[in-house]
């Protein structure tokens, strides 16, 4: 599932700044898992520390979208 969603905010005609037409937000997988089932596959300890979770199903990359946002504005 794609973890990034977008919405199009209202742009007023008197906005003094160049409007941001598309805004994006991240929905991490834990939002859609009310109760974690047992015996999920796991990362190795090293991988888990690096990714910040022991279970691949809960992994969310949370990448920086700063550059992408700037490109939208320009």
């Amino acid at each position: 599932m794609n973890q990034i969603r977008q919405w199009h905010p209202f742009v007023g005609p008197f906005d003094p700044c160049p409007p941001i037409t598309v805004k994006a937000y991240l929905v991490p997988p834990n939002l859609f898992i009310p109760f974690q089932p047992p015996n999920w596959p796991q990362f190795s300890p090293a991988e888990a520390l690096k990714r910040g979770t022991l279970w691949p199903a809960l992994y969310s990359p949370y990448e920086s979208r700063m550059l992408e946002g700037r490109r939208e504005v320009q």
């Binding site: 109760f35 974690q36 047992p38 300890p45 888990a48 520390l49 022991l54």
Partner: protein, 89 residues
């Protein structure tokens, strides 16, 4: 105080392993808080706790105590105050 020991490759390897084991233990602890009857997870937790103890023992025998207040044994001479301190590595 003796001369400060320079941290070698094994030092960082052991610290990394401790960090990894601790992270798995935290994750399992949080999971077990909501799944107290998951026997397999409890077994895995205990297995990791044991491995952590072993790694910590190796670390402490080579580089000195990790904890105070009697949770770690001391070598001779007393070297708790010796560098490197946690924020220096």
């Amino acid at each position: 105080m003796s001369a400060p020991k320079k941290p070698d490759e094994a030092y960082y390897q052991l610290l990394t392993e401790l960090q990894q084991l601790d992270f798995v233990l935290v994750e399992l602890m949080l999971y077990l808080d909501t799944h107290p009857y998951d026997l397999q997870a409890v077994q895995q937790f205990n297995q990791f706790a044991q491995r952590r103890q072993q790694v910590a023992q190796v670390y402490e025998s080579r580089y000195g105590p990790l904890l105070q207040f009697g949770h770690s044994f001391s070598r001779y001479p007393w070297d708790w105050a010796n560098t490197p301190w946690p924020w220096q590595v």
